[in-house]
């Protein structure tokens, strides 16, 4: 199930919340776990068993790591079991097709891929790995209650599309959390903000990209090509950050505090900053569990560069089982290396606004790589952006500009910090602040109603992360 659909919003969510609130404190985790399993089973019932088995193995690994605190061999064995199992699941469900295709293309063989797909696999395997790795490194306390452990793994707010909540982030919340109506109300604000981002902004601007992506690349005008990839940059940002906001909101309704996942990434003044603001929990994960264990930047320049390249190709590969994603990751790795070692002083001297534009344009080029599986098409699209088709603007692009103008402006404004700035200014004046907070529930209801109108219509509502 996804959050942006009628069955979730009007049936699953209210029933779950009410059952959860009415459950006595001791049974809340059970109620939440049952709800989460129903949620997970909605789209792919058979994979619930895989989720259960993998949780059982990770749970046991944690117990073993706790008992054999001093036995290094057993500890390594437990960690490896957990890692191999999680990476194995990931390979089977996400990468088997890619590996088999690669083998086939090298050896000319014709093995068949199993063609399995499991929504959320990249998220929950990463979450459980955070638990066993942190257990191994001694950063966290063991979770002895299997139900609480399953509750953490399966928690429906974040299982399909993140944020990647590390066990450490919620270990206290799992066993003891404070529920309050006002915190839940705050969660409603986050949830509706996220829902609106997804349904009103991402889905609508996504239609523009879909149309341009499906048209003949060799006939694209310069304006359409730029318009298309800009539209995609907004689609993926609002879709992804919308899901994260919804997850954070749902978390608050349930008494959890999830980490922030996006922080106005398109206002970044460098690529490194962009990645500190984009999918923050993924970046943190790779830094904590890959980059730092590899030695990070403590082993000299060459090793740092190699470490960065490894981390970034893995980050790319995490986004999808195909070469273009690896390239996409490496592209950012190389840019970050350049920023860090080659031109660090130059960038500082450029005016801020230009740095934002520089970062955004490079990110846009990245999205071209991200969106076209075939390098040939990505290159053709890239050329179209620079006039290779010898059409600057045509009737089609004028029409697109016209009907998407409002949408583009709204997407642009909310991707900047303008909104938070204005809100901050308002909050500093007492009277205005009161008006704003009183009107908040009304604005929320209005947005919920408009989103519902789009969802009832069952129009274009893609799930972008089935590849993640």
């Amino acid at each position: 199930m996804v959050f942006s659909c009628i069955p979730f919003l009007y049936f699953f969510l209210p029933i779950t919340l009410i059952v959860y609130y009415l459950s006595p404190r001791k049974l809340k985790n059970l109620a939440l776990t049952v709800a989460s399993l129903i949620f997970f089973a909605w789209g792919e019932p058979k994979y619930v068993f895989i989720l259960l088995i993998s949780s059982a193995i990770d749970y046991s690994a944690g117990i073993v790591l706790d008992i054999y605190r001093d036995n290094k061999k057993i500890r390594i064995a437990a960690l490896l079991t957990s890692l191999l199992m999680n990476l194995g699941l990931l390979s089977l469900f996400k990468y088997s097709g890619f590996f088999i295709d690669t083998v086939n293309s090298i050896f000319g063989s014709s093995f068949k891929a199993p063609g399995l797909e499991m929504i959320g696999i990249s998220f929950f395997t990463f979450q459980t790995m955070s638990y066993t790795i942190d257990m191994y490194m001694g950063n966290i306390k063991v979770q002895k209650n299997p139900l609480d452990f399953l509750c953490y793994i399966s928690m429906f707010p974040q299982i399909v599309a993140g944020p990647i909540v590390r066990y450490e982030d919620v270990q206290n919340d799992i066993s003891k959390r404070s529920l309050s109506l006002s915190k839940a109300g705050e969660g409603v604000g986050d949830f509706i903000k996220g829902l609106s981002k997804k349904v009103l902004l991402a889905n609508n601007i996504g239609l523009l990209w879909d149309e341009i992506k499906l048209s003949e690349i060799s006939e694209l005008s310069v304006v359409s090509a730029w318009l298309g990839i800009i539209a995609f940059s907004f689609q993926i940002y609002y879709d992804f950050s919308g899901y994260s906001d919804m997850a954070v909101g749902l978390g608050k309704m349930l008494g959890f505090t999830f980490p922030k996942n996006f922080d106005h990434p398109y206002t970044s003044k460098s690529i490194s900053e962009f990645w500190r603001r984009w999918h923050i929990t993924l970046g943190t994960w790779f830094r904590m569990y890959v980059y730092i264990p590899l030695g990070g930047n403590r082993k000299g320049k060459t090793r740092t560069i190699i470490n960065l390249l490894v981390v970034w190709s893995l980050t790319g590969f995490w986004h999808g089982a195909s070469w273009n994603f690896i390239l996409w990751g490496l592209y950012f790795g190389i840019l970050i290396i350049l920023e860090r070692f080659v031109v660090p002083n130059v960038i500082e001297k450029i005016p801020k606004l230009l740095r934002v534009v520089y970062t955004y344009v490079l990110v846009l080029f990245g999205w071209v790589l991200f969106e076209f599986e075939s390098l040939k098409n990505a290159w053709a699209y890239f050329c179209a952006m620079f006039g290779a088709n010898r059409i600057f603007i045509d009737a089609q692009s004028i029409y697109r500009l016209r009907i998407y103008a409002v949408m583009l402006i709204v997407c642009f404004v909310f991707s900047t910090a303008a909104y938070s700035y204005v809100m901050q200014r308002i909050r500093s004046t007492k009277k205005l602040a009161a008006c704003v907070s009183i009107s908040a529930p009304l604005v929320q209801m209005a947005l919920l109603i408009i989103c519902t109108a789009y969802l009832v219509n069952n129009v274009y509502n893609p799930f972008l992360y089935f590849r993640f």
């Binding site: 049936f11 209210p14 006002s182 109300g185 009907i403 103008a405 907070s437 929320q444 408009i450 009832v456």
Partner: protein, 376 residues
């Protein structure tokens, strides 16, 4: 204060979701949506198999959307939001200042050419003179009401293409300019893809003299307005009500020739009527079906005209409000709808029994038609 408002947020949110969910569950379910003119999703069957291959949950999702409480009002809200955000079309239908206009895409010319070949072959095989009228739809006549850059296939040039490719022995009745010059008048419905009776009258006025008769002048008709709340097929795509209901008019020629009998063959049985108008449809959503009662495989019409002329009319629904004008001239008209006839036409009617054959289609339907080729 802040806290109270946040609590209010939560209570409103949960209360709204729960209320809507419950009302949706308990409210009576309809199988067919009249306004949207489509069958709504049925409740999926729960079985082990449907559960585990997830078809049950997908079906349930569709079911909940289709039967959501006050679904049509939600769609109306979305249409307004779409227009507000600058969109010019909803569900493949443009909403201009004055009307709905269907978005036309380029037809598949292999299919079109096949149909044209069939018409040519048919005309060459029979000795009865064949006439061909390809009526523009409002998308053709009002093309300039659209945004200049809006993607829209040019219907006028499509009509020219078809006329240019039918053989010379087929006499084309090109009514495009006739209708275009009357575009200030109410010749097309604003919410439906058909022409109005007035539009059909203009086409008749032009065509009937080519068919060898003197047209009945406008003043001889007594126009009866039978409905002013027609929301037709284009409306069903958008549920946009900004144009108000369409008017449906009947042109009565009291002093003229009267219809003696209308026998409708619906493919199973033959039924006799004494009028071309089936007024019970005025109480229903699709008021255009008032003309001839909708579409049937074969309808035989006899009039008290003394001309002795008979017409074989091969048509789509555009002819339904056009036929009443023809009854002033022919003693007998056989109306054939190829979309409902699956074996060759010669099994039912022979063109030799008629004085003339007229093919009447609207250009938009003709561009996608795959049934007319069965006439040969």
């Amino acid at each position: 204060m802040e806290k109270i408002i946040k609590r209010l947020s939560m209570l409103l949110f949960l209360g709204f979701l729960l209320t809507m969910g419950i009302i949706t569950l308990v409210s009576p379910k309809e199988e067919f949506s009249d306004v949207e003119n489509r069958t709504l999703a049925a409740k999926p069957e729960l079985s082990l198999e449907s559960y585990f291959d997830a078809s049950y949950s997908k079906g349930l999702e569709q079911f909940m959307c289709d039967h959501f409480y006050k679904r049509s009002d939600w769609i109306k809200l979305m249409t307004h939001m779409e227009l507000f955000s600058g969109k010019l079309e909803v569900n493949g239908v443009y909403i201009t200042e004055n009307r709905h206009i269907e978005r036309l895409s380029e037809p598949d010319f292999d299919v079109v050419d096949e149909t044209i070949d069939a018409i040519n072959e048919y005309a060459s095989e029979i000795s009865t003179p064949v006439y061909f009228m390809l009526a523009p739809s409002s998308a053709g006549i009002y093309a300039d009401e659209l945004d200049a850059n809006a993607p829209q296939y040019n219907q006028e040039s499509f009509i020219d293409y078809v006329y240019a490719n039918v053989d010379d022995n087929i006499r084309v009745l090109d009514i495009f300019m006739t209708l275009k010059s009357a575009d200030e008048e109410y010749i097309y419905y604003k919410n439906d893809h058909h022409w109005t009776s007035l539009g059909a009258y203009y086409a008749y006025y032009y065509a009937i003299s080519k068919l060898g008769f003197t047209p009945v002048s406008f003043s001889q008709y007594n126009i009866e307005r039978v409905s002013s709340s027609f929301y037709g097929s284009l409306y069903s795509e958008t549920l946009y009500e900004g144009f108000g209901g369409d008017y449906v008019d009947i042109f009565n020629c009291d002093s003229g020739i009267q219809v003696k009998s209308v026998s409708v063959n619906d493919g199973i049985k033959l039924k006799e009527y004494d009028s071309l108008y089936f007024r019970e449809f005025l109480e229903k959503k699709d008021k255009y079906s008032m003309f001839l009662g909708g579409n049937f495989p074969i309808v035989d019409i006899e009039t008290d005209a003394q001309s002795g002329k008979s017409l074989l009319l091969i048509k789509d629904s555009y002819a339904n409000c056009f036929v009443p004008f023809l009854t002033q001239h022919y003693s007998k008209i056989t109306v054939v709808d190829m979309r409902y006839i699956n074996i060759g036409l010669e099994n039912f009617v022979s063109a030799d029994d008629y004085s003339q054959v007229l093919l009447l289609y609207n250009a938009s339907g003709f561009a996608n038609d795959t049934d007319l080729k069965k006439i040969t």
